[in-house]
Structure formats: structure tokens, C-alpha cells
């Protein structure tokens, strides 16, 4: 009797282990992929800022933290930050997803892609002194059992990654930026 119960418990634990591992494998495959260019060493924290007039009306969270609003007499330094988001999606036809047993096993039925491009122009009057750009590509797959992150969530991740990348590029140019007319 006890031996029978032990076998049952062992089988149940093997079953749960199999299910758990399969779920982990499936979910790992569904995580969003992200790549940012250019490749730079990320900053651990923002330890310098340059002042100027900021020409940007969007969410301040996405603005590089290496720039800050400051008094700009005459033709002082100004920062113009812009970004764009390009959306895309690829789907397997629904009828294929219905009949293909692999999709019923959790294989992807489609993917969402998002490209975020950010650009920071540093201007003195109307003259462009320096320009920083960064691009972030995001991709996530979907399955019948897993929809994954929304475009809103991907967009936010992408914009923050682009911001961090521009900050890191600016840190590399720190000496140059400190020499700007009103730079710190």
C-alpha cells in the first residue's frame, strides 16, 4: 500500500517537473529580444550634465539625463531631441495555426517588431555642433498560449534603451562637451 503511494507520488512529481520545464522553455523562447546600436559601454549612473535650452515636448522620462534645462544667454547651447517608432507584425495565416500541431504545442504563430530611433542634436544658435543617434530593435513572438508584452510596453523599453545609449555616448565625449561655451 505504502509502496503504491510512493510510486504515485514519484509519477506525479515527474509529471509536474516535465510540465514546469516545458513551460520554462516555452516562456524563455517568448521573451522579447532587444538590440541597441551603436554598441557602447552602459553608464551605471548619470554623473554629469550639461546645461542648455531643451527643445522637446514629449515625456521627460525618455530624455537623456545628461542634459538639463539651463539659462542660455544669446546664441547659447540648445538640445533638440526627437524619436520615431516604426511598428511591424508578421503572422502565420490563422488556418495554418489551426491545423499545424506544432502551434498547438506552443510554437510561435507570429511576431511583433518595433524599431525606435532617437536623435539628440546639440546646437549653438542654428549651427549643429554635435549629433547623437541610437536605434533599438525589439522583437517578440506570440503563440496560442502566450501573447507576451504589448507594443506600449515594448515602446517604453525601447525609448529607455535609446536614452541610455545616448547618455553613454555623451559620457565618452565628456571632455568635448565640457568645453562647449555653456557646457556645465
Amino acid at each position: 500500500m505504502i509502496k503504491g503511494k510512493g510510486n504515485w507520488c514519484r509519477k506525479a512529481s515527474q509529471f509536474y517537473l516535465t510540465i514546469s520545464l516545458s513551460s520554462i522553455l516555452l516562456l524563455c523562447g517568448c521573451a522579447a529580444k532587444m538590440a541597441v546600436t551603436p554598441e557602447v559601454n552602459q553608464m551605471n549612473h548619470v554623473d554629469f550634465q550639461i546645461k542648455g535650452k531643451i527643445l522637446y515636448e514629449g515625456n521627460k522620462e525618455y530624455l537623456p539625463r545628461t542634459i538639463t534645462e539651463g539659462a542660455v544667454p544669446g546664441d547659447g547651447i540648445s538640445f533638440q531631441y526627437t524619436y520615431e517608432a516604426i511598428y511591424g507584425e508578421h503572422d502565420i495565416p490563422d488556418i495554418v495555426a489551426w491545423v499545424n500541431p506544432l502551434h498547438l504545442a506552443g510554437f510561435p504563430t507570429g511576431e511583433n517588431t518595433l524599431i525606435i530611433r532617437g536623435k539628440l542634436d546639440i546646437l549653438k544658435g542654428k549651427e549643429l555642433i554635435k549629433s547623437y543617434t541610437a536605434t533599438c530593435g525589439l522583437e517578440k513572438t506570440r503563440s496560442l498560449f502566450w501573447e507576451g508584452e504589448t507594443y506600449s510596453s515594448l515602446r517604453k523599453k525601447g525609448l529607455i534603451a535609446v536614452r541610455d545609449n545616448i547618455e553613454a555616448q555623451m559620457k565618452q565625449d565628456r571632455d568635448f562637451l565640457y568645453k562647449l561655451p555653456i557646457g556645465n
Binding site: E57, G58, N59, A85, Y87, E89, D91, D94, A97, W98, T109, G110, L144, F145, E147, T150, Y151, S152, S153, R155, K156
Partner: protein, 146 residues
């Protein structure tokens, strides 16, 4: 009454019910709005007519507030204040896109329905004016609001 007749009646009533539910309150064909109120942006939410999932309509919310029910082949013009606005729709899964709306600008959010486990899943996508203008022209105004 024979069992097969009863099944047939139930099936007919069910299909009729589904058909009536899918009848969307759609109005006139697409007309571009030229007058955007001052200090507001315009977002067209539209869903091209498709055979698959045509009976499923879903609610679209802007920053969590219900704005319309998106029917197959319908469009809805939504005026909003500038700033980040999240458009979302949900059935068995959620789809959401965020637009940083600027005053006087026009944006397009395309809705569709994809295969789901129990019910069709909504899909929202920000599309360029070039793509949207060729698709929305075939859509009709959703007259039902909320």
C-alpha cells in the same frame, strides 16, 4: 419532437443570435475630418473588414477610459489632448499601443482580430498615414459610442 429536430432548432437560434450580435451599428462611409479642435490631436481607430472573426467586436479604451466598440469594417475618430495616450483592447488577451499625441496632428491605429484559444484576440497597431488612408477609405463610421 425528434432529438435531431431539437438540435437543429437550437443551432439555428444560436446562429441567428450570433448573426444579430455581429450586426454592427455602422454609419456613413469614411470621410476625413479636416477640423481638429484647437490644442487637440486626432486619432482614427479603424478595423478593415475581414471574414475571419467578423462577429467579434471589442472595446477600445484610451488611458483606461472606454471610447468605442470596434466593429469589423468600422472606424472611429477620437479627439484627444496632447500627450502620451495608450489605446488598449482586451478579450482573452490584451493589446495596447501608445501614441505621443501632438496638437493638430492626425494618427492612425489599426485594429484586427487574430486566432485565440476561446475567442478572437484583438490586435492594435500604429500605422503610417500612407497605409491607413488606403484601408480606412473602405470603413464606415461607428455610430455607437460607449
Amino acid at each position: 419532437m425528434k432529438k435531431s429536430t431539437l438540435i437543429l432548432i437550437i443551432l439555428t437560434v444560436f446562429l441567428l443570435g450570433m448573426f444579430l450580435l455581429s450586426c454592427a451599428p455602422l454609419g456613413p462611409a469614411f470621410q476625413k475630418t479636416d477640423a481638429i479642435p484647437e490644442n487637440m490631436g486626432l486619432v482614427y481607430i479603424y478595423r478593415p473588414s475581414k471574414g475571419f472573426g467578423s462577429g467579434v467586436a471589442y472595446e477600445v479604451k484610451a488611458n483606461g477610459v472606454l471610447i468605442t466598440k470596434l466593429h469589423n469594417g468600422g472606424y472611429y475618430p477620437y479627439f484627444t489632448l496632447p500627450g502620451e495616450t495608450e489605446f488598449s483592447a482586451k478579450t482573452e488577451t490584451k493589446s495596447a499601443v501608445t501614441i505621443d499625441v501632438k496638437a493638430g496632428e492626425t494618427y492612425y491605429v489599426k485594429g484586427s482580430i487574430r486566432l485565440g484559444l476561446i475567442v478572437g484576440r484583438p490586435r492594435l497597431l500604429v500605422v503610417s498615414p500612407e497605409v491607413a488612408e488606403s484601408e480606412i477609405i473602405k470603413c464606415k463610421l461607428i455610430q455607437e459610442r460607449k
